[in-house]
Symmetry: C2
Subunit: 216 residues, 2 copies
DNA sequence: TAATGTGAATCGTTTCACAGCG
DNA sequence: CGCTGTGAAACGATTCACATTA
């Protein structure tokens, strides 16, 4: 198990680097040829220092005195983080949220190939018009295994979230994006990122309350 | 501007406290009368120490030797963080994601009263069946001001996100939940929480890549 | 000169370890 | 004795400050 230096990138840095990468795509489209850490920071809302340190985790790439070449930096980040990697993905729960995700083109553009959708309501499967293959929920484990799906998006009601996760994990899923507002019990080395709308709303509301109370 | 001790709660602690609060609601429904920090931690995936410190930011409430009373702790958190506060909310962008949010009952149950929906496509407004009031996007500023809406959810395409935010802020919005994958430039004291599906997917994928590379 | 890259200092959060209490 | 509550230590990330280089 060779120590990989990149494993030592702090998670917040990694997250910022991905934002930088997406901004670079934008700048490239706008035909910008170079950009400085302070420009990147200004747009993304981070300190220039921070951006520079983040980038430096991946080795030297900038021009002393002249900022970064957009294309070069983009390739540098993509190469180091292997952003060209393709990941087979599935979505479980095809309500409004689930179908929104099925149809989210940016995923495909960034290497996430949605190869299956699942729902426990078999009637619903027939009403959704999509070119993707749809399956009943009880076929999750089998399908994930058969197709070699790596990432599963959970968009089912809270009550069904753990069972859904178990089915995905039994099929050998590697990572989960969980939109349900419950904590999932994970098997061994499965990774998860939680996206919790209600939690974010409550956090925002609480922060507003603090602000209101401290001004009063 | 009296210093409010609660302003000093670290953001991660605040976020955990809100998770604890929601778990307590669940435990209350299950008629559990008491719970320890280690039980809470186990379920939510945090260290018991951390949970105890989080709770202690709000003052003493537990029973030495006997854990926390579910109901009492719940009231304690809710009281301190003023979780009974109601917030008028609106959703901009009524595609699949936007309409999913309009219909997300958990929001209402937790004090977020969705009082308006907006979309730039006027024809679309007529096809959506809901009891909520819907408006064209150019009426955002006026409606936010008139109704005293505090929180705005942005569920529009990336291209329209900044303009949407500006309209919300011009109407006096206090907080924004941003589902678009772009950084929003904020006015003065407006607060924002970003929910970035593509970003989370890319982060997850990168973490998986690191794991794969370090095992090899 | 302008902006990168980076050790060192600082800051904030988590973890530790144990005193305090029912 | 078990579990809370909390100072103190440890840890990790950010910010600082400046040497470095085109």
């Amino acid at each position: 198990m060779p120590k990989n230096k990149k494993n030592d990138i702090p998670l917040p840095s990694l997250s910022r680097l991905l934002s930088v990468y997406r901004l670079l795509e934008q700048l490239e489209r706008d035909n910008e040829s170079s950009v400085s850490s302070s420009q990147l920071g200004k747009i993304l809302g981070y300190k220039a220092d921070s951006i520079r340190k983040d980038i430096s985790y991946l080795g030297e790439v900038g021009n002393f005195g002249g900022g970064y070449e957009v294309q070069k930096l983009k390739t540098h980040i993509s190469g180091n983080l292997e952003l060209d990697k393709k990941r087979k993905t599935c979505v479980v729960g095809l309500g409004r949220l689930g179908t929104a995700i099925l149809n989210y083109d940016d995923l495909l553009r960034n290497g996430f190939i949605v190869v299956a959708g699942f729902d426990s309501n078999i009637n619903r499967l027939e009403t959704i018009k999509t070119s993707l293959e749809l399956f009943p929920a009880y076929e999750i484990t089998e399908t994930v295994r058969k197709k070699g799906i790596e990432i599963g998006v959970i968009a089912v009601p809270a009550m069904a979230a753990q069972e859904t996760a178990d089915r995905l994990m039994n099929g050998g899923i590697k990572g989960i994006i969980n939109f349900s507002p419950v904590a999932i019990k994970l098997k061994n080395s499965v990774m998860i990122r939680n996206i919790d709308l209600l939690g974010e709303c409550m956090l925002l509301s609480t922060l507003l309350t603090f602000e209101e109370n401290s001004v009063k």
